[in-house]
Amino acid sequence: MSATLIDTSSFRDVFGELLVEIGKEAGEVVVVTADVGKSTRAYKFGELFRDRYFNVGISEQHMVSFAAGLASVGAIPIVTAFASFMMRAWEQIRNSVARMNLNVKIVATHAGYSDHADGASHQMLEDIALMRVLPNMSVFVPADVYDLRRCFKRLVLDVRGPVYMRLGRDYSPHITRDLDYECELGKAQVLREGHDVAIMGSGVVLHEALIAAEELEEMGISAAVVNILFAKPLDVETIVRIARKTGRVVTVEEHMVYGGVGGAVAEVLAQTYPVPMKILGSTSFGRSAKSQKELIEYFNLGRRSIVKACLELVGHGNR
C-alpha cells in the first residue's frame, strides 16, 4: 500500500474525462452547469456534444429544476456546480428532484476544503448532512479519483433515481489506486483490517487515516480502516461487522461533525451494536490557506488527530 505517495490526478480533470467517455456511450446523457463549466471541467463534454450541454448561467436554482424537467422527459442530466452553490438549490433538489424521484445526477465539485484559497464561502462542509436527509437520494463520496473512475458510469447509467456525488477539486492522494474492487451502490470497502480500533470515513482524509493506522501499528495497536463510499445508502453490514471486531470506532470526514458520515455511523451503531466512538470533523466554517492538506491539519483531521483519537479510545475501552 503506497499510502504516502501523492498522486497528481485531479478530481475535476478525471470528472471531465469521464463525462466525455459517458457522452460517447450514452446519447441521453446531458450536462447542465451554471457558469462553472471551465472550473468543473464540464466544458470538455460541451466541446464534443454541444447540443447536449446546457450552461444556464449563474442560476443554480433554475439549473436544478431545469434538470428535473430534462429527466422527466427521458434525458439523464448530470448537473454540476461547486458544492457550496449547489446547496443554494437545496430546496429545488428536495422538491423538484428527490420528491419526484427523478433520474438526476448531481455532481458537486470543490467540496470540503478542496477550494483551499477561496475560504469559508466556498468550502462546503454541510452537504453530506443536507443530502443524506432527503428521501430517495443516494450520496456518493469517493476517496480518490480511482473510486470516481470505478463508480461514475455505474451510478449514472445503472442507478435509476437521484444521486449526489461529492467531489473535491484537485487534491487526490493515493488511497484506492492499487485495490481491486467493483463499485456497488451502498457498499463500503475495508481498506485495512485491524482488531483494536476502526477508523471509518469518507473522502481524501482516508489518506490520513491510512497513515495513522501505520503509526498505530508501530505502537502495537491494530487499526482497521473503512472507506465509506456511500454516506447513503449506508453499508450497515460492514459497519456493524467491523465495530464488533474492533469494539471502538473513530470516524473522519471533511464535513461538519453534525449529520455527516460520523453521524450516520453513530445512528447505525447506537441502534445495533453501541461501541465507544469519536467523530472527527469540522466544527466551524473554513478559511483560506495555501493547500487543502494544510487545512485538513489545521482543522484537526490529519494523521496526528486521528492517532490521538484512536489512542484515547483504546485507553478507555475494554481492551
Binding site: 446531458v30 447540443d51 447536449r52 446546457f54 444556464v56 448561467g57 442560476s59 436554482q61 433554475h62 436544478v64 429544476s65 431545469f66 434538470a67 428535473a68 424537467g69 430534462l70 429527466a71 422527466s72 422527459v73 427521458g74 434525458a75 442530466p77 430546496e91 429545488q92 422538491n95 423538484s96 420528491r99 419526484m100
Partner: protein
C-alpha cells in the same frame, strides 16, 4: 412563422366553446364539492385559474404519444391543485369519487399535486420551480425533434421568486418555440393584494424586454383565452399570456374567499 395550413379555427367554434364552458361549470361544481369536504383547499387560487385550465385541458392538451410527442401541463402555482383535480375528474383521468376525499389520509389527492395522480406532470407546492421544470421538458423535446408542447400555469404572486427570472431568461436563450406560459393575474397572494405586498405592474414588460412574446387575455372568458392560445401556438419564440383573473371570484359568485393557510 405560420405553422401548417390555415387551420379552420372557427369551424364549430360555438359547439367547442359551449363544450369548454360546460367542462368549466362542472369543474367549478367539483371545486365547491371539494371545499365542502375540506376547508383547507386553496379555493381562491383554484377558481382564478380554473377557466385557463379548462381551456388548456379541454381544447389543447394532447395526452397521447410518448414523452416527447405529447403535451405537458405544469401547474407551477401548485396550490391550485384542486382546479386541476376538478378537471381531471371531468375528463375521466381520476374517479369522481376521489374528489370528496381530498386531503384525507388515504386519498390520492394531496393539497399540492404529486406524480402519483394520473394526468399530473409535476409535483408542485414550491413556487417557481414549475417554470424551470417546464423549460427542461421543452428543451429536451426540441433537441430530439419531438412534437410535444409544454403549457405552464404561473401565478402573479409567484413571480416574486428570483427563480422565475433565472428561468425566463434561459427560455429565451434556448429559443423555445414549444413553450407557452399562462399567468393567472388574480391580483392576490398569500398576505393580500399583490400591489400591496409588492407591486407587479411592470412584470409583463420585463418578460417582453427579456425577449418573450407577450399576449393578453381575459382569464375568465373561454373565447378570449382560445384567441390568445391560437396566436401563441403560431409563435416562433416563447410566449406568455397574461390572463386577467382578478374578477373571477365575482364571476363565479363566491366573493370574500379567505386564505387556506
Amino acid at each position: 412563422m405560420v405553422r401548417g395550413d390555415a387551420k379552420p379555427i372557427l369551424e364549430n367554434i360555438e359547439v367547442e366553446v359551449d363544450r369548454i364552458r360546460e367542462l368549466n361549470r362542472n369543474a367549478f361544481t367539483n371545486i365547491l364539492l371539494m371545499q365542502k369536504h375540506d376547508k383547507h383547499i386553496h379555493l381562491r387560487s383554484s377558481l382564478s385559474c380554473l377557466t385557463l385550465l379548462s381551456v388548456l385541458v379541454g381544447r389543447y392538451l394532447r395526452r397521447g404519444g410518448d414523452n416527447t410527442n405529447r403535451d405537458w401541463l405544469v401547474l407551477s402555482k401548485g396550490h391550485a391543485a384542486p382546479a386541476l383535480y376538478a378537471i381531471l375528474a371531468e375528463m375521466g383521468s381520476i374517479p369522481r369519487a376521489e374528489l370528496s376525499k381530498i386531503n384525507g389520509i388515504d386519498s390520492m389527492l394531496q393539497n399540492h399535486t404529486e406524480l402519483s395522480v394520473p394526468g399530473v406532470d409535476f409535483a408542485s407546492g414550491s413556487l417557481a420551480q414549475g417554470i424551470s421544470f417546464a423549460i427542461g421538458i421543452a428543451a429536451w423535446i426540441k433537441r430530439v425533434g419531438g412534437s410535444g408542447r409544454v403549457f405552464v400555469v404561473l401565478g402573479d404572486g409567484e413571480q416574486d421568486e428570483g427563480q422565475v427570472w433565472e428561468a425566463i431568461t434561459h427560455a429565451v436563450a434556448l429559443n423555445l418555440d414549444n413553450l407557452i406560459v399562462l399567468v393567472d393575474m388574480n391580483g392576490r397572494q398569500l398576505d393580500g393584494k399583490t400591489d400591496e405586498v409588492k407591486p407587479k405592474h411592470y412584470i409583463p414588460f420585463v418578460w417582453k424586454a427579456v425577449g418573450w412574446r407577450v399576449l393578453w387575455a381575459d382569464g375568465g372568458d373561454v373565447v378570449s383565452l382560445i384567441m390568445a392560445l391560437e396566436e401563441a401556438l403560431e409563435s416562433d419564440k416563447p410566449v406568455v399570456i397574461f390572463a386577467q383573473t382578478h374578477h373571477i371570484d365575482v364571476a363565479f359568485g363566491v366573493e370574500h374567499v379567505g386564505n387556506a393557510h
